[in-house]
């Protein structure tokens, strides 16, 4: 929750129309940085609009959701690594980084006896300040960090550990995806790296605010994951400099959302009422299939883009091949030669016409085969008949 007393000049909270602000965390901030130049998403994020609620209200709820098996596994692994004063993590750091035996201090920054974020953040600052000056402390669990997002103060409550080694801090992120023979899913590692970069940035701001060199927070973070098919943790260093650069640049861009918001009709808000569809449509989207994995609005925007026949729904490579042509109908008309291309489309049109001719020729030379009739015996869906062949036990 973003506190109302933290408003600044570039506040867009009025756009929420009284709805609850979405709580930013490293994942949502990391998602901001993967925004492919979409004004709609930019404005909604900058105003901390709950995009999930908006999408649902519009009838396009995002099919995001996690299996409880995955959640349980994630929580169990993290608890295991952090159990008993991070005993397992300590063993990893000792083996892998040559951490000295006396370096075992563990501070849980969440243990302040209150849920107040201000208090917890103050404690984080206090202990970090002490650590920066005296070198005291090794592992700091649950630091509460702050980051300005488009002029608004967001709190980050990472489940990470800031770990001090040789006067520098490293972010330790625990993830439950497996590292098999030294390799992990590149997308999952990338997501973890982006999140870690947000923490590094927030930690650096805190360190700079305390009058120290922000470089004392290392760009090298440690990813702790299960090794192979076991529950044994393994730590892998990840250099997040590229992610840091992107996060920084994209956060700086977010303030531009204000300019876009100004072009919205007066009084329009993203409140969950009958005006919502108009408000959403008032800000242009830049839909690409990649949005499906990172933005709650994706299904709505896809529907919108399909409805107006945008070539972008087919993916960026397709749109790229079609040069400047944005519309499916236009591209097809050009290919069929039924529309006279404007000068700027002449080349694309020529290319499409040749492509159409080549397709025609090739298909004529080898007519497509008849589709075999459907086997009517096999039912398409439904609960299988119990006791049927399907259930013949073999295991």
């Amino acid at each position: 929750m973003i506190r109302d007393d933290d408003h600044t000049a570039t506040d867009l909270s009025h756009l929420r129309g009284g709805e609850t602000a979405r709580n930013h965390d490293a994942r949502t901030i990391a998602a901001l940085t993967a925004n492919p130049g979409c004004a709609r998403r930019g404005v909604m994020d900058a105003a901390a609009v709950d995009k999930d609620a908006v999408a649902r209200h519009l009838g396009f709820g995002a099919p995001f959701g996690q299996s409880q098996f995955a959640i349980t596994r994630g929580n169990a692994f993290e608890a295991q690594v952090k159990a008993d004063g991070c005993a397992e993590l300590l063993a990893l750091l000792r083996d892998g980084l040559g951490l000295d035996i006396p370096e075992v201090a563990y501070d849980d920054l969440e243990s302040v006896g209150t849920e107040s974020r201000e208090v917890r953040h103050t404690r984080t600052r206090h202990l970090m300040a002490r650590a920066l000056e005296s070198g005291e402390g090794t592992m700091f669990d649950h630091p509460l960090l702050r980051l300005d997002i488009a002029g608004q103060r967001a709190y980050l409550e990472p489940d990470v550990i800031a770990f001090q080694l040789g006067g520098r801090f490293h972010v330790v992120e625990v993830k439950s995806f497996a590292v098999v023979d030294g390799q992990a899913e590149p997308e999952q590692v990338a997501a973890a790296a982006r999140q870690s970069a947000v923490y590094v940035l927030a930690l650096r701001e805190l360190v700079a605010g305390l009058g120290h060199d922000p470089e004392r927070v290392s760009h090298e973070v440690f990813l702790v994951c299960p090794e192979n098919f076991s529950n044994r943790p393994t730590a892998t260093p990840v250099d997040v400099r590229p992610q840091l650069a992107v996060v920084r640049r994209q956060l700086a861009r977010l303030t531009r959302a204000e300019d876009i918001a100004r072009t919205m009709p007066d009084g329009l808000t993203f409140a969950l009422d009958e005006g919502l569809p108009d408000a959403v449509r008032a800000v242009e989207a830049r839909y690409a299939p990649e949005c499906m994995s990172s933005c709650e609005m994706a299904l709505f925007c896809r529907d919108e883009a399909r409805a107006c026949g945008a070539t972008g729904t087919l993916g960026r490579p397709v749109r790229d091949e079609l040069g400047g042509v944005d519309s499916v109908v236009t591209a097809l008309d050009l290919a069929r030669g039924v529309r006279e291309p404007s000068e700027d489309m002449a080349e694309t049109a020529e290319q499409l016409r040749v492509a159409a001719r080549l397709r025609r020729e090739a298909l004529a030379s080898a007519p497509a085969p008849a589709v075999p009739p459907r086997d009517t015996a096999s039912p398409l869906v439904g609960v299988p008949a119990h006791g049927a062949d399907v259930l013949e036990r073999t295991a």
Partner: protein, 490 residues
């Protein structure tokens, strides 16, 4: 991606259903493929939940791990799966052909057939690869012994997955990728990754068009995902309570039955889709080079099968020499696969024509008996002039071959607007007059391409034990470790 495929996708949108991007089938399809639809437990690297498999569409086998976190149940499942896979492998061998001995006099054999596994998508391949990795090092003796079939399964799955990396191989096919090679839909590649949505465009059910069938396939409640991941709401609302009940009952058969029924409901629709997809692919005529590529698959299978008993499990990681060799093999396969597809299929050749690397047209003039007498001996060098509408982007002097008869080679002499003058240089016989019918005659349609089908020869690599110092010197030999046998399975 090319403008040609992009255009096909636009046509699919306009038509409301998928359109062909190939005129022939570019993969081998076995008479009796083993269709496998694996599911895994969310949040785990390779904890199997269930697999539906079989070679008879009307009699699938369903293997389920009622509690995926229980080691005994998992290995029981692995042993069952192993038996099914190994049985298929053994059944698909056929007779053994004896080939000409190799240059150094070694006997060579080739099995008449080879096994083929069909899975829904790329994720399934990744899962089978991990399953292979997690089972092939298991020990069959000592305190952590598993059924001897388990490590065999691991080695076979690893072979299938490795083979899948190779362009043009058909022993392990993913349906989404194979279908996409033959049809273009009106949705993006991301959405095509959903087998149900892809099939919805290619073969919409009665009364539906592509978009509505695809939309229906995107509802996980109506159309379960093709795996290996399950839908989260299925996990939370159906599977988790069923597994909890199984635990509480202490493994009671009827609690297990309920899990099996729930899992079957998620697998059956995909099972049916998979066989339907195979019907569609089978209806396409086979490309001319497909048997040749399948022969390579059979060679690999023969070798792996014959050496199986004597070989250790495949290494966890390729060493430097193995990696370089493999990359080299893959690049060669890629090169010849691309070329072969173009020669087999005018729609693929059209890509080269659109890119200006090939051109097609009608012969307007021919001098079939022209001789080049500038050298010591006269050479047969017929001239052929071709009128083309294609955007030719070839330099003068470029070498081209005839698409219909790659043996016929030529050289671009000049390009003048829509006219290309070729000098034919080879593939016309040894005499000073060409074999009849070889030199294209005026009025005949022809296609020439600058991309040839000849693959470059195999390169030489040092032996493993001669790995140079630049690459860390010879690697250590693999020693089976207890760790590999005990490694808790997620």
């Amino acid at each position: 991606m090319s403008t040609l495929t992009a255009l096909a996708q636009l046509e699919a949108i306009a038509a409301g259903r998928a359109v062909p991007v190939a005129t022939v089938r570019h993969c081998h399809l076995s008479e009796t493929p083993l269709v496998m639809i694996p599911l895994k437990l969310a949040g785990e690297a390779a904890a199997p939940l269930a697999t539906m498999l079989g070679t008879d569409r009307n009699a699938p086998t369903l293997l389920v791990v009622p509690q995926p976190r229980n080691r005994d149940l998992r290995f029981g499942y692995a042993a069952e799966l192993a038996k099914a896979v190994v049985e298929h492998v053994e059944a698909e061998r056929g007779a053994t052909e004896t080939l000409e001995p190799s240059k150094d006099g070694e006997e060579r054999f080739r099995y008449e057939r080879a096994p083929q596994i069909i899975v829904p998508n790329r994720g399934s391949v990744g899962f089978l690869r991990l399953l292979g990795r997690s089972t092939r090092f298991r020990s069959t003796e000592g305190p952590w012994a598993v059924d001897p079939a388990v490590p065999m399964l691991g080695r076979w799955l690893t072979w299938f997955a490795d083979r899948n990396d190779r362009p043009g191989s058909s022993v392990l096919l993913t349906l989404t990728e194979t279908l996409r090679m033959h049809w273009a839909t009106g949705q993006s590649s991301l959405e095509d990754g959903n087998l149900g949505a892809l099939m919805g465009w290619i073969d919409p059910p009665e009364g539906m068009d592509g978009p509505s069938a695809a939309a229906r396939a995107e509802d996980p409640v109506v159309s379960p995902p093709a795996g290996p991941a399950t839908d989260p709401t299925f996990d939370n609302e159906v599977l988790a309570p069923a597994i909890a009940a199984f635990d509480e009952s202490g493994g009671e058969p009827r609690a297990e039955e309920r899990i099996r029924a729930a899992v079957a409901s998620q697998l059956t629709p995909t099972w049916d889709l998979a066989w339907r997809a195979l019907d569609l692919l089978r209806a396409l005529p086979e490309g001319a080079s497909v048997p040749r590529r399948w022969e390579r698959d059979r060679d690999s299978f023969t070798y792996f099968h014959r050496e199986f008993a004597e070989s250790p499990p495949q290494a966890k990681l390729d060493d430097a020499v193995r990696a370089a060799r493999r990359l080299h093999d893959l690049e060669r396969s890629q090169e010849s696969y691309e070329a072969q597809r173009a020669f087999d299929d005018p729609l693929v050749m059209a890509e080269q024509r659109l890119a200006g690397q090939a051109f097609g047209g009608v012969v307007t003039e021919a001098e079939p008996t022209r001789l080049d007498e500038s050298g010591k001996r006269p050479k047969l060098r017929p001239y052929v002039r071709i009128r083309t509408e294609d955007p030719v982007r070839l330099d003068e002097g470029a070498t081209v071959v005839n698409a219909a008869r790659p043996g016929l080679k030529g050289k671009v002499v000049e390009i003048d607007g829509q006219d290309v003058l070729l000098e034919l240089t080879g593939g016309m016989g040894r005499k000073l007059t060409p074999e009849p019918g070889v030199v294209p005659e005026p009025g005949q349609p022809v296609v020439f391409t600058s991309r040839t089908a000849d693959s470059w020869g195999a390169s030489k690599f040092p032996e493993r034990e001669d790995t140079p110092w630049t690459h860390g010197g010879p690697p250590a030999e693999y020693e089976p470790a207890d760790e590999d046998a005990t490694e808790v399975w997620s």
